[in-house]
Structures are given as C-alpha cells and as structure tokens.
C-alpha cells in the first residue's frame, strides 16, 4: 500500500484529486470507525439531526445563528461510529466553511446524509450542484437525502414540496427519508413511542446500520475506487502515448522535410559545376 505515491497522484491528476484523497484515507485508515457525515446548507438542521441519531441533544450545538464553522465530531465507541458535523454550505462569503465541509465528505465520509429542510421548499440551484458533485464523488449507496423539519410543514404543503424534491433527485437514484428531530426529542422526553416512530429517526438509524453492517462495505468501496482510479490512469496513459506517437511522427516528418531541402539544395549546387 505504501508504494502508492498519493501526493504525486494528487499533483499530477487534480481532476480526480478528491477520489485520490478518499483512496488515500481508505488505504491508510488506522481505525475501524464508521464515519457518518452530515452535509447541507446552513440552518437546515444538520447538528440537530446528528443529536437525534446519537440520542443526545447536547452533543452538537444547535442554534439559529451560524454556529458550526469547522468540522466537529463525536465518536460513539460502543457502536463504532464517528459522527461528523460540518459547517453549513454557502454560509460564509470566503467559502471557508464549504472547504471544511467538502474536506470531510471527500476524505472521511463513509456515508453522507445530505440534509435539506422541507420548511425551505424544494432544493435550490446550489443544493442541486452540491448533490451533483456528491454523486460524482460517491457511490449512490453511500448517500441518503434526509429531509428534515417535516413537523414544520403543513400536510398539503409537504405533499407538494416532497413531490417536487423527488422529481429533482430522480436522476441521482438516491435513498431519501423525511424526519423530524423535534418530534423525536419530544417523543423521548414524553416517552411517547408514537411520536418517536413518526419522527422516522429510528428508520434512518436502521438505514445507517444496514450499510454499516455490510462487513465488506469499505473494502468494496476501496476496491471500486482503486479500479476507478486505475481506469482513469489507463485512459490518461493512452492519451499520453497517442500524443507521444503523434510527436514522434511529427519529428520524423520534419526531419524528412529538412533532408529533402538539403538534397534539393545540393542538386542545385551541382548544376553550378
């Protein structure tokens, strides 16, 4: 494994840098934690969702203002899960938050929960772009579109918005789920099973565990990613080889032209004897 020069690969092939970063991470990963990353725009309920999945409201800060400006994580040693919270996308002008979030999903994410609040209506242009990038970067099996704050939308509004979103993401072939963290925590505090069930947080937990329990999940990703990178490199090498042959032909042609010109010149000189 150590034979692979990842730094050189990243430098030489910036187009697939993100895939190489992930490949490097998977190849050199020293722990066996299953990394779950939330990703999405600011104030769509990412931190709250992680808290609900962990079952503790106090793990990640939840406020209406922009609180998560760097990647934050919590390791659940018992379950072997590392929960990673990322800053909201498109929240700061410099784009630093986006960089942190992108680093997390590029490198560490074994599974990504793309979070969108139903309260905001359908996915906007920026979210669609983020999703497109994600689908390019990750296999669809490691992406789940989580639609949050279901409790804050009226039933008829929910139907319309959900219908629109389904159409929007149809092309990506993503699993999706609508959840309500408020309902979940209310259910927990009131010990109300119905509320908990309606929140769908447990369903989402099951979805995650299903992926996690596939023992060779990461091995498969590593193998597939390696194959993908090899395929890319083989194509690149083919292009380089074709280019080399073209340049060799060009060199031979130019040499032949030069020799012909010299020959013609000597033939003319001979006429002057």
């Amino acid at each position: 494994m150590s034979n692979i020069n990842f730094e050189a690969l990243k430098r030489q092939f910036p187009e697939i840098k993100n895939k190489i970063i992930r490949l490097e991470y998977l190849s050199t990963k020293e722990n066996n934690y299953f990394n779950v990353v939330v990703y999405g725009k600011y104030n769509h309920g990412k931190s709250s969702l992680l808290n609900a999945l962990i079952g503790d409201e106090s793990i990640f800060k939840v406020e209406d203002c922009r609180t998560t400006t760097k990647n934050d994580s919590f390791i659940d040693g018992l379950k072997g899960i590392k929960w990673i919270d990322t800053p909201g996308l498109s929240a700061d002008i410099q784009g630093n938050d986006d960089t942190h979030a992108t680093n997390a999903i590029t490198k560490e994410a074994d599974i990504i929960l793309f979070v969108h609040s139903l309260r905001m209506g359908e996915l906007d242009q920026a979210e669609m772009e983020y999703l497109k990038d994600l689908v390019y970067l990750k296999p669809a099996s490691s992406l789940i579109l989580v639609l949050t704050q279901q409790d804050q939308t009226r039933a008829e509004q929910f139907e319309t918005v959900y219908g629109c979103i389904e159409k929007q993401v149809e092309q990506f072939n993503l699993k999706n789920i609508c959840v309500s963290t408020t309902r979940y925590f209310k259910g927990l505090s009131l010990n109300n099973g119905n509320q908990i069930a309606r929140s769908k947080i447990l369903v989402l937990q099951d979805m995650l565990m299903q992926v996690y329990k596939e023992n060779d999940y990461l091995d498969t990703e590593l193998k597939n990613l390696t194959k993908e990178v090899i395929h890319y490199l083989e194509n690149e090498r083919e292009i380089v080889e074709q280019n080399k042959v073209k340049k060799q032909q060009e060199l031979r042609q130019m040499h032949s032209n030069f020799q012909n010109e010299v020959k013609q010149m000597i033939n003319k000189i001979q006429q002057f004897y």
């Binding site: 020069n5 090899i230 090498r237 080889e241 340049k247 060199l251 000597i266 000189i269």
Partner: protein
C-alpha cells in the same frame, strides 16, 4: 675551229653556266623557305601558347564565376535553412570550403545533415517526446502500485 662549232661550243658553255647559275639560285631559295617555315611555326606555336593561356585564363575566370555562384547560392540557402529550422549557422564558412570540388558533395550533405539534431524544432520535439515518455512511465508506475494494492 669552224665558227659553227665555236658557236655551238659557246652556246653549250653558256647553257652550262646558266645551268650552274640556275642550280645555285634554287638552293638559296629553299633554305630561305625553310627558315621562313620555321619562323612561321615558331610564331604559330607562340600564338597557340598564348591562345591556350588565354583559354586557361578564361576557364579559370569561368570556374571562379561558377564557384562564386555556388557559394552565393549555398550562402542564401544555408541561411534560409538556418532561419527556418532555427539552428546556429557559424559552421557555414567551414562547410563552404567543400564547394570547391564536385567530389565533396556527399561530405557536404553529411555536414549539413549533422545540423538536424541542433535545430530548435528537433530539440523541442525531442524534449516533448522525452517528457511524454516519462509521463507515461510515471502513470504506468502508479497503475502498477494500485494494481498491487488490489491484488494484495
């Protein structure tokens, strides 16, 4: 002695004298003639020599003119090649000396051909090919190490 005899003898003697005189006169004109011929030949030879010399001078002039033409043509063509293929033309004068003899044409061609690797176009393309070759080998190394990982 009867007169007719005397007259006869006289005529005969006169004829003999005349004959001697005629003979003497013939000898002297022949030697003169020979001398004239010799002088004529000498002059002719000298003229021929002069004509030959003039011809030689003329031929030399012609050769010089042809050599100059060759030099001029070579100069123009070599400069054109040097500009077109972008190479140093400082060896032009030394190559130009080969133009004296027609026997040197193969050597002349060889000497000009030697300039090909020094041309900017050859140097540039050769470097590009070397770089592409290195790039291809580097990619091949990456592929090999990635495949080793897959099989390992």
């Amino acid at each position: 002695m009867p007169l007719p005899l005397l007259i006869g003898l006289g005529v005969a003697a006169a004829a003999a004298v005349a004959a001697v005189a005629i003979t003497t006169s013939d000898d002297s004109s022949s030697s003169q003639h020979n001398a004239d011929e010799q002088t004529k030949r000498k002059i002719e030879e000298e003229n021929e020599k002069k004509r030959q010399q003039a011809l030689n001078v003329q031929q030399q002039d012609l050769n010089k003119q042809k050599l100059n033409k060759r030099k001029l043509f070579f100069d123009t063509e070599f400069n054109r090649l040097s500009a077109k293929y972008d190479f140093d033309n400082k060896e032009k004068s030394s190559i130009q000396t080969l133009l004296i003899s027609k026997e040197n044409m193969r050597l002349l061609k060889a000497r000009i051909d030697e300039h090909w690797p020094k041309t900017a176009v050859s140097k540039g393309l050769s470097k590009t090919i070397r770089d592409l070759d290195l790039e291809s080998k580097t990619i091949e190394m990456h592929i090999k190490s990635l495949k080793e990982q897959t099989h390992g």
